[in-house]
């Protein structure tokens, strides 16, 4: 039986079969490698969290170092109410473990949209964020007998997502350290937010708690005070993005930390 290779029927049959076979093969690969990839991502996350408190870890020793320094994992609501609190082993399948909260996904799906649509109206933004069903993870770390709080922050740079981890001292006001990273910022300009020369500027600066703008990343070359840092030359929009995500996210944790310290004081 001779098959006409140029007939429409044959072409459709061929492409249908091809799509089914290729699709199956790719789905199988993706599913079977998923657990390993997840574990790698978790290791990377631990390395980043530890990086914020100045502990250098690698993928190989991330787990041990993480359990050594991070004592508690907490999730809070936008209003600063505690949702969950755990410590000890991380169970990758436990959805309630604050470590397993995917802040980037929450930002992409919910928070980012709210921020974008309410850029000019901070009050509306706050009320919308208050209603959104999103939990904010917080990591309590103990290093050299002092306590630090590491908070993840996610925002938008010039071309795509930017994120980072900020370590606050236990006064819920002073920066201890910060790390930032990005997906597609311009190399040499916005991409510099991940470099040490930028992140080291944060150490020792304080949040202006109670004010509308708790912390500012100023246009490069501006005069800075204790509540602001100098942005990156030529990376103004990325720098603004860093400022925005700090301003939006850190007050959530500050509210939580102030509430808990008030409770402690009352006891």
């Amino acid at each position: 039986m001779a098959v006409n290779k140029n007939s429409n029927g044959y072409t459709f049959l061929f492409s249908t079969l091809m799509v089914v076979i290729v699709g199956t093969a790719l789905a199988y690969t993706s599913l079977s490698l998923k657990p390993l990839q997840k574990a790698n991502e978790a290791d990377k996350k631990m390395v980043n969290i530890l990086g914020a408190i100045g502990v250098t870890a690698s993928r190989d020793n991330a787990k041990e170092e993480f359990s050594k320094y991070v004592t508690e994992r907490i999730s809070v609501t936008f209003a600063g109410k505690e949702v969950n609190k755990t410590s000890g082993e991380i169970d990758a399948t436990d959805k309630t473990d604050p470590f397993n909260i995917n802040v980037k996904k929450d930002y992409r799906g919910i928070i980012g949209k709210i921020v974008k649509s309410t850029k000019k109206d901070p009050e509306l933004q706050e009320s919308k964020l208050m209603k959104a069903d999103v939990a904010y993870p917080l990591y309590v770390c103990v290093k050299n007998d002092s306590t630090f709080y590491v908070a993840p922050v996610v925002g938008t740079g010039l071309w795509g997502p930017i994120w980072g981890y900020v370590a606050l001292m236990d006064d819920a006001e002073t920066f201890y350290g910060a790390t930032f990273d990005h997906k597609t910022e311009t190399p040499g300009l916005g991409a510099e937010i991940r470099e040490v020369f930028f992140t080291e500027k944060f150490a020792g600066k304080t949040l202006n708690n109670g004010a509308d703008v708790v912390f500012e990343v100023k246009k490069s070359g501006s005069v800075t005070d204790e509540h602001s840092v100098d942005g990156i030359t030529g990376g103004t929009i990325t720098s603004k993005g860093v400022g925005e995500m700090l301003n939006r996210t850190l007050p959530v944790y500050v509210k939580y930390l102030e509430q808990t310290s008030n409770q402690k004081a009352q006891l």
Binding site: T11, V22, A25, L33, R59
Partner: protein
């Protein structure tokens, strides 16, 4: 009778003189990067470290061999009108598999290579070989052709990465093995010496210059390649 003779003639040894040329030509006379100037984008981007270049070359080699052999096996089945799409789907599927495997087993390198693994899909060498060779040849020769072109790409990448890493970083770093220092520590200005790493080497423009130098050296040694004009 006549068909039989043809069959015998066609089933020549895999390592006949003609087939050996499939392997050796792309290394020199028809090198994909230096002579055909294909696949330049990745050659410029990921040759800062030898380690990255090795992984990238391995990835390209895998996709190249897989694509060439699969297309060659299907060459009598692929409808002419959609052959480019079919080739693209095969390449893309292989590249995604490579990317997933890298993410699972070599996460650090996967992060450094970032988008460039995905961009293998658009590497002209691969598409070019599928279209020009695999579609018209048996799987055996196609396999050799893939290895030849893959290695032709690989050795240029490694040569460029070698030069750039020595002058740009002064040492090779391999995970597991550690650093292989070429410039003694005491030579560096920081330690009271006279030497400093050339930061320009780490930037993409120097990759272009290094590739240019390789092309220059190659043409001066292999006069066949010089166009008469």
């Amino acid at each position: 009778m006549s068909t039989e003779v043809k069959e015998i003639k066609k089933s020549e040894s895999l390592f006949s003189k003609k087939n050996r040329r499939l392997l050796s030509d792309p290394l020199n006379d028809s090198n994909p990067i230096t002579v055909q100037v294909l696949g330049i984008c990745s050659a410029l981007a990921i040759t800062v470290q030898v380690q990255q270049a090795v992984i990238m070359s391995a990835a390209v080699l895998f996709v190249m061999i897989g694509g060439n052999v699969i297309v060659s096996l299907l060459r009598n089945l692929i409808p002419d009108r959609i052959r480019i799409i079919v080739q693209l789907v095969i390449i893309a599927a292989l590249v995604i598999i490579v990317n997933e495997v890298l993410k699972a087993f070599l996460p650090d390198i996967s992060e450094k290579l970032s988008v460039f693994v995905g961009l293998i899909i658009t590497n002209c060498i691969i598409m070019g070989r599928l279209e020009a060779f695999a579609l018209g040849n048996k799987p055996g020769p196609s396999f050799l052709d893939a290895i030849g072109n893959g290695l032709g790409y690989a050795w240029i990448l490694l040569a460029v990465a070698f030069v750039r890493e020595i002058f740009g970083s002064g040492a090779f770093s391999f995970p597991g093995i550690g650093q292989l220092k070429f410039i003694p520590d005491s030579w560096f200005i920081a330690n009271g010496g006279f030497y400093e790493n050339n930061n320009l080497m780490i930037l993409p423009p120097m990759a272009l210059v290094v590739v240019g130098i390789i092309i220059w050296v190659q043409r001066s040694r292999n006069t066949k390649l010089i166009e008469e004009n």
